[in-house]
């Protein structure tokens, strides 16, 4: 094997797989308990240390807004957690959607790590939840979503708040798959400058501009030590950083992830890809997400609204980007599509 020399040789990076959480978006929340167990078991055997398992919207995600999954979060976690030989099961908690009651119940089912997620300017909606996760003894991450919408100094300030609330790790989260390597570096560096040395930094990418791997490497160069990805890229939009590809790049660069590359490749090819409803890739609409800076989860919702109201999905996505809609505002997709349809004479106003 060809070897390359670089300054990252020997660096340790902790991988966190998202295909059973972010991947739920790409599967319209329709992953069965059996499939969850099968995927998680394969990832556990491949040495992936953290596996996120919940509804795509995380705890409290089951809703008309975000779709109803085939099973409750408690059922998924309870089925997966006891089967894990080494991996920790993690969950996503977005304050305003999920609550501490739900975190307690996820913990009771076996979850031991949590991403407490807020929009990148609203960290101060998370103190209760981060403190509670710490009280439960969980591995606790503050997860700053849509990080391209805040500048490096702003991200540093928000990350510092999360550290103060008790987060062990702060993530730069490129929910729109919009960022370029220098954007990632600047934000991770700004965090590294203000956070305590023992506080870890993570990066969560989306592959909408094909930058998932390059961005993750840039994050590591700037000091990140935790990387989210998903095997075969099963995630919202054009998917997350494909984990097996990233693991291969790390191996070439001498970055120590501790995972078994070939086992990950097998899981991707033999288990995940056959599960996909559509091939998760950079297509016209997911590219629009990355290009316009729109939340990746909006992809399938926009396609459905496009079909229903006759306004192209790309037009809807661009308008959502212009209106600066953020994660969680999925209702505004239909609202925006209806308003655009009225303007185009495709839909009539309701009158008394």
């Amino acid at each position: 094997m060809m070897s390359s020399t670089n300054n990252l040789k020997g660096r340790k990076v902790v991988l966190h797989d998202m295909c059973l959480r972010d991947g739920m978006h790409a599967k319209r929340e329709q992953i069965s308990i059996d499939q969850m167990v099968k995927v998680a078991t394969a990832l556990d055997a491949a040495g992936v240390p953290y596996i996120q398992v919940t509804h795509g919207g995380g705890l409290g995600g089951n809703s008309l807004q975000h779709g109803f999954a085939l099973a409750s979060n408690e059922e998924y976690i309870s089925a997966v957690a006891p089967k894990m030989k080494q991996a920790k099961v993690s969950v996503l908690l977005i304050p305003g959607l999920g609550t501490m009651r739900e975190l307690q119940s996820a913990y009771d089912c076996g979850a031991r790590s949590v991403h407490v997620a807020t929009h990148c300017t609203e960290a101060d909606t998370s103190p209760q939840h981060i403190a509670f996760a710490r009280k439960l003894g969980m591995d606790t991450t503050g997860f700053l979503m849509m990080a391209h919408l805040n500048d490096p100094a702003g991200i540093a300030k928000q990350g510092k708040l999360m550290e103060n609330y008790g987060a062990h790790t702060v993530y730069v989260t490129d929910s729109a798959g919009y960022m370029l390597p220098e954007d990632v570096k600047a934000r991770v560096q700004a965090l590294r400058d203000v956070l305590k040395p023992e506080t870890e930094i993570g990066f969560h990418g989306h592959h909408n501009l094909g930058m998932g791997i390059a961005n993750s490497i840039a994050a590591i160069e700037a000091g990140a030590s935790r990387i989210d990805g998903s095997v075969a890229g099963l995630g919202a939009g054009a998917g997350n950083t494909p984990l097996e590809v990233f693991a291969a790049v790390c191996e070439r660069m001498g970055i120590d992830t501790g995972v078994d590359l070939f086992k990950l490749m097998d899981a991707a090819e033999d288990i995940i890809v056959p599960m996909m409803d559509h091939i998760v890739r950079v297509d016209r609409e997911s590219l629009t997400l990355g290009f316009a800076g729109v939340y990746s989860t909006f992809l399938l919702h926009s396609k459905r609204a496009a079909e229903r109201f006759g306004v192209p999905a790309r037009d809807i996505l661009v308008e959502l980007g212009r209106k600066k809609m953020i994660g969680g505002q999925e209702d505004m997709i239909m609202d925006t599509a209806m308003t655009m349809a009225k303007e185009r004479g495709l839909l009539k106003e309701v009158t008394a």
Partner: protein
């Protein structure tokens, strides 16, 4: 004409906005504002608007309640101190309008159940939450036509309009609002979601209401009921506006609303704060009208 004299507890955004609304009321008069920080901007503004102020919390107000004939108090402090505030003022026969998520009294959404509370002379009524005020009328407009098994609301709020109290206690907001969707909205199960959006210029408050009816929804009757309810809310919140819908998909009814404020103290985008102060003022007015007409009389609540 005689007016009912009021005290405002809490000198933040909500309390200050209330001064403007109460000053315009034909039946209410703002007399006292209670704060805890002598340097607070809210107390200074209240003084400049002609109110008496104290920075010693509710205890600073108590000696003046009887001599100044305070009959209604609005509490815009926090869930944690509300119970104490309410107990002390109720003992003196003051009606408490609770704008915190404490919800120790019955939940009130004016066009849905205010009349009922006034008739019973409740001494503490709770205004739920901004999202509750903005969405429960619509849930009720559906459930009064057909039974609703599940109702879900999504409130999008401008970041600048969400104060530190709400931010630090988002779970309470979720629980209080979800519960009220059931109790007042009439859905068997309720769920509330909140999104805080920092866009500049700030977005006007948006609310999406979705109801699942048990049987196939009667489109004509439900649409008519919703449009009628919107008119009722517009009587005290003129900026309450239907943007899209009602739209039907199987048993699902969805309505997309916008709430622009009056821009009294808080900017127009802060419809979430405005709808709380407007609903609280409307509630106090209904009680005041009844008191002035001699139909009801407030009674001191014995300490338990």
């Amino acid at each position: 004409m005689k007016k009912i004299r009021c005290a405002l507890i809490g000198s933040g955004n909500i309390g200050t906005d209330l001064i403007y609304k109460i000053q315009r009321s034909p039946v209410l008069e703002p007399v006292w504002m209670v704060g805890i920080d002598p340097e607070s901007e809210g107390l200074a503004r209240a003084r400049s608007m002609g109110l008496k102020t104290t920075a010693e919390g509710v205890d600073g107000l108590l000696p003046h309640v009887l001599e100044d004939n305070i009959q209604i108090a609005f509490d815009a402090t926090s869930a944690y101190v509300h119970a104490e505030n309410s107990r002390k003022l109720n003992e003196l026969g003051v009606l408490m309008i609770d704008l915190t998520p404490a919800a120790i009294g019955p939940l009130c959404v004016p066009p849905v159940n205010l009349r009922e509370h006034a008739d019973k002379v409740e001494m503490n009524v709770n205004m739920i939450s901004c999202a509750g005020q903005a969405t429960i009328p619509i849930v009720n407009a559906v459930s009064r036509i057909q039974s609703v098994g599940y109702a879900e609301i999504v409130a999008s709020l401008a970041s600048k309009s969400v104060g530190p109290g709400t931010r630090a206690n988002l779970d309470e907001f979720t629980y209080t609002t979800s519960n009220a969707i059931e109790k007042v909205g009439g859905a068997r199960k309720g769920k509330a979601l909140a999104i805080i959006n920092p866009a500049e210029p700030p977005m006007i408050m948006r609310n999406t209401i979705s109801c699942l009816t048990d049987d196939e929804p009667d489109h004509v009757k439900i649409t008519e009921s919703i449009l009628q309810m919107i008119k009722e809310v517009q009587k005290y919140v003129p900026g309450y506006r239907l943007v899209n819908g009602p739209i039907y998909d199987g048993n699902k009814v969805q309505v997309f609303m916008e709430v622009a404020g009056l821009g009294d103290y808080l900017p127009k985008y802060a419809g979430n704060l405005d709808i709380m102060t407007a609903a609280a003022t409307r509630t106090a007015e209904m009680f005041a009208e009844e008191i002035l007409a001699g139909r009801i009389q407030l009674k001191a609540v014995e300490a338990a």
